[in-house]
C-alpha cells in the first residue's frame, strides 16, 4: 500500500488512494485511447452499479407486488417499505429494535470479548521468549484452519447440555451441574444453546484465536525502542505493557474490534443453527428469511429496504477503515 504523507487530506480522498497532488501532467492519453478507456470504464461502472441501483430502486418503491420488469432508476422516492420494515420486519412478533439490538449485542460483544481476552496473549507471543512458545502458538493457530461450520457440531452439543430447569419440587436445577432431586424431567427454563449468550460463546470460540494472531502480527511491527527505554527507566513488564504498548496499539485494537464487528454482524451459520426463538433473531437471519424460497411471501420492496439497512453499518465502518482492513487482511491472510 502506498503511504500517503498528507494525513490532513479528507478521509474519502485518502481511502480511495486518489492522487490529489495535481501531478497528472506528463504524458496524457491520446484521444482515441482516452475514449476507448472511458468506454471500458463505463461498462465496468454499469456492471458494478447494476445490483446496487436495482436494490436501491426497489427499496424506494411503494409497489408491493414482485417486480415484473427491470427498473434501475427510482421512479418514486417512497419510504413505505422502510417504514414497514422498521415497524414490523417479519411475520414473527419481534420488533426491528429487538433485531437490531440482538445483532449489535452479538457482534459488538464478541468483538470486544475476543479483543480483551486476546490482547495479553498476543503481547506475550510478540515480546517474550519462553518454553513451549512455538507449541502454544501452533495450538492457537489450529482452530483458525477450521471453518466456522466445522466447529458448530461440538459447540451445539456441548452448549445444549447446559440447561436451567424448574423441577416439580420447586427447586431449580442447572444441568449438567445439578439435577432435579426426584430425577424428573422438570420444565425447561433456559437452554444455553438456544440463547444469544450461547451463540456469543460459540462465536468467540473462533474469534479469539483470530484476534490473538491478528494482534500479535501488529505488535510485531511496533518498534521495541520505547519499551527498552522504559525498561531502562525502571518500568517493569506490566507497566510497559499498560502504559507503552497498549496506547501504541490502540489503532490496531480498533481495527481488530471492527473486523470482529463486521464479521459477526453478518454471522449466519451459528445463529441460524442455534437459535430457534424469533425474539433472539438477528438482522442477518431476518434478511435470509426474506430471500429465495421465502421471497414469495415477502414484498420485494421490503426485502430491498432490509438489505440496505443491514448493509449500511458495515459499509460505514468499512469506508472509515478501508485501508487498515485491506492491509491487515492481506498480511493476516499470509499468516493465516
Amino acid at each position: 500500500m502506498a503511504v500517503n504523507p498528507q494525513s490532513t487530506k479528507n478521509m474519502f480522498v485518502r481511502i480511495m488512494n486518489i492522487n490529489t497532488s495535481g501531478q497528472t501532467a506528463g504524458r496524457s492519453l491520446p484521444l482515441w485511447k482516452q475514449l476507448v478507456f472511458q468506454l471500458i470504464a463505463l461498462i465496468i461502472l454499469a456492471s458494478v452499479m447494476f445490483p446496487i441501483m436495482y436494490i436501491v430502486t426497489l427499496s424506494f418503491s411503494s409497489i408491493t407486488t414482485r417486480p415484473s420488469k427491470l427498473e434501475l432508476f427510482p421512479k418514486e422516492i417512497s419510504f413505505v417499505a422502510y417504514r414497514q420494515v422498521l415497524d414490523r420486519p417479519t411475520g414473527n412478533p419481534v420488533t426491528f429494535i429487538e433485531l437490531l439490538r440482538n445483532s449489535f449485542m452479538l457482534s459488538m460483544g464478541v468483538g470486544a470479548a475476543a479483543l480483551v481476552i486476546a490482547v495479553t496473549a498476543a503481547y506475550a507471543f510478540s515480546r517474550f521468549k519462553f518454553k513451549m512458545r512455538e507449541v502454544l502458538m501452533i495450538l492457537v493457530f489450529i482452530p483458525l484452519l477450521m471453518p466456522a461450520v466445522g466447529l458448530s457440531t461440538p459447540l451445539y452439543l456441548l452448549l445444549n447440555q447446559v440447561q436451567v430447569k424448574e423441577c416439580k419440587s420447586g427447586e431449580t436445577a442447572i444441568l449438567p451441574f445439578t439435577e432435579c432431586s426426584d430425577g424428573g424431567k422438570g420444565k425447561l427454563q433456559f437452554n444455553l444453546r438456544d440463547s444469544l449468550l450461547g451463540v456469543g460463546i460459540a462465536m468467540t470460540a473462533s474469534a479469539l484465536p483470530f484476534a490473538v494472531w491478528n494482534l500479535k502480527g501488529y505488535l510485531d511491527t511496533i518498534p521495541r525502542e520505547l519499551e527498552e527505554a522504559a525498561a531502562i527507566d525502571g518500568a517493569d513488564a506490566n507497566q510497559t505493557f499498560w502504559q507503552i504498548v497498549i496506547p501504541l496499539a490502540v489503532p490496531q485494537l480498533a481495527v481488530t474490534f471492527f473486523l470482529g464487528f463486521i464479521g459477526h454482524w453478518q454471522e449466519f451459520v451459528l445463529t441460524w443453527l442455534f437459535l430457534s426463538q424469533p425474539k433472539d433473531y438477528t438482522l442477518a437471519m431476518t434478511l435470509y428469511n426474506m430471500t429465495g424460497q421465502y421471497a414469495n411471501s415477502i414484498p420485494w420492496n421490503r426485502f430491498a429496504a432490509m438489505a440496505v439497512i443491514v448493509a449500511l453499518p458495515v459499509a460505514i465502518v468499512y469506508i472509515g477503515l478501508q485501508k487498515q482492513i485491506v492491509g491487515g487482511l492481506t498480511t493476516g491472510g499470509v499468516k493465516g
Partner: protein
C-alpha cells in the same frame, strides 16, 4: 550490596519466567473451554453414532455406541443415505469453485487497476470511488440480493436478458432461465467428474462482482509503489505498453497479488453464504461445498456423529490447503528477497 543486587536480579528473572504464562493465561483458559475442548469432543463423537436422542445426556447416554471409523467410511464410500452425495465429487467441485474464482478475480482486478492507473484518464476518482462499492457491502447482503436477482420469474437477470433480446434480436418473449433448478450442464464435460450446472455460473457471476474489486484495491496499492522511471526507461528502450505490462507491472505486482490470491482462494473455498443462500448446494447437490454439506448434516439431517466426522475431514482438507498455499507464499517471499 552485591548480594542484594544479585538476589533482586534473581527475583526479576524468576518473575520474568512466569510472566509470559500469566499473560497467556486468560486466553488459554477460555480457549481451553470453548475452543480446544469442543475440538477434542468433536473427534471423540466422530467415532460414535451420536444422534438427536443423545442430545441431553451426551457421552453418558446409555445407548451411545462407539462405531470406530464407520462414519468416515460411510462418507468416503458415499454410503450415507443421502441422495446425490459423493464426497470426492463435492471435494473436486469445491477446489474448482475456489480456483476458478481466483483465476478470474485476480487478472480482472489487476487489469482494471492498471486501466485506472493510466495517466490522464478522465473521471479517475469517480471510477475508483464506485469500483470500491462491492467490497464495502457485506457478503451476506450481496448473496441475498443476487439470490433474488437470479430469481426465475421476477429476477433482474432474466428481465435484463429479456430486454437485451428484445433490443438486439427483436424477440419480445420474456426469458425464464431456471438458474437454480436446471440440472443439465450448459457446457457438458467442462469439469470431468463434477458437472457444472447453471447454478455454478450464476454464483460465479455474483461472486465475480464481489471478488474483483478487492483484488483491484490490492493491485492499485502495489501499482502506485512501482517507480515511474522504470516505465520511462523501458519506453526509451522501445518497449511497447504490452511489453511494459508483462516486463514491469506483472513481476512487480506478484509479491502483493500472490498473498491476496491465496486469501481469496481460502475465502472462496469456504464461501458458505453464497452457496447456501443462492443454490443451497443444488440442484442435485451439484454446487455443494464441503462447508454447506457439513451444515446440512448438522442442521437438517441432525446426524451429529457423521457431522463431526465430516468436520474432522474438512479440517484435514483445510490443513492440506494451508500447507500448499503457505508454500506458495513462502516461495514468493524468497522471490522478493532474491
Amino acid at each position: 550490596m552485591a548480594a542484594i543486587a544479585k538476589s533482586s536480579f534473581r527475583k526479576t528473572k524468576t518473575k520474568n519466567a512466569v510472566l509470559p504464562y500469566l499473560y497467556l493465561l486468560p486466553a488459554f483458559l477460555i480457549m481451553g473451554v470453548i475452543t480446544f475442548y469442543p475440538l477434542i469432543y468433536q473427534v471423540i463423537i466422530s467415532f460414535t453414532n451420536f444422534e438427536t436422542t443423545h442430545l441431553l445426556l451426551g457421552l453418558k447416554s446409555p445407548d451411545l455406541r462407539f462405531i470406530g471409523l464407520q462414519n468416515y467410511i460411510d462418507i468416503f464410500t458415499a454410503a450415507l443415505p443421502v441422495e446425490n452425495f459423493n464426497f470426492f465429487r463435492v471435494l473436486e467441485f469445491n477446489f474448482w469453485w475456489a480456483l476458478s474464482n481466483v483465476i478470474l478475480h485476480v487478472p480482472a482486478g489487476v487489469l482494471i487497476a492498471t486501466l485506472l492507473n493510466a495517466e490522464g484518464l478522465w473521471f479517475k476518482r469517480i471510477y475508483r470511488a464506485v469500483y470500491i462499492l462491492p467490497v464495502v457491502v457485506p457478503p451476506l447482503v450481496v448473496a441475498t440480493v443476487w439470490t433474488n436477482i437470479f430469481d426465475e420469474r421476477y429476477g433482474a437477470m432474466n428481465q435484463l436478458l429479456t430486454n437485451i433480446s428484445a433490443a438486439f434480436l427483436g424477440n419480445a418473449d420474456p426469458i425464464y432461465i431456471r438458474w437454480f433448478e436446471d440440472v443439465k450442464p450448459p457446457i457438458p464435460g467442462f469439469l470431468p467428474g463434477a458437472p457444472l450446472t447453471l447454478a455454478y455460473y450464476a454464483m460465479m457471476v455474483a461472486n465475480f462482482w464481489l471478488g474483483w474489486p478487492f483484488m483491484s484495491v490490492v493491485a492499485t496499492g502495489a501499482l502506485q509503489s512501482i517507480p515511474k522511471d522504470l516505465y520511462e526507461a523501458a519506453s526509451i528502450d522501445g518497449a511497447t505498453p504490452v511489453q511494459q505490462f508483462w516486463g514491469i507491472t506483472v513481476p512487480l505486482l506478484r509479491p502483493a497479488m500472490i498473498p491476496a490470491a491465496v486469501y481469496g482462494f481460502t475465502l472462496s473455498f469456504n464461501l458458505f453464504n453464497f452457496v447456501f443462500f443462492m443454490s443451497g448446494g443444488g440442484p442435485a447437490r451439484s454446487t455443494e461445498l464441503l462447508v454447506t454439506f457439513a451444515y446440512n448434516l448438522v442442521r437438517n439431517l441432525r446426524w451429529y456423529g457423521v457431522a463431526a466426522a465430516f468436520a474432522v475431514i474438512i479440517f484435514g482438507v483445510a490443513l492440506i490447503v494451508f500447507l500448499i498455499t503457505n508454500r506458495i507464499t513462502r516461495a514468493t517471499q524468497n522471490y522478493m528477497e532474491a
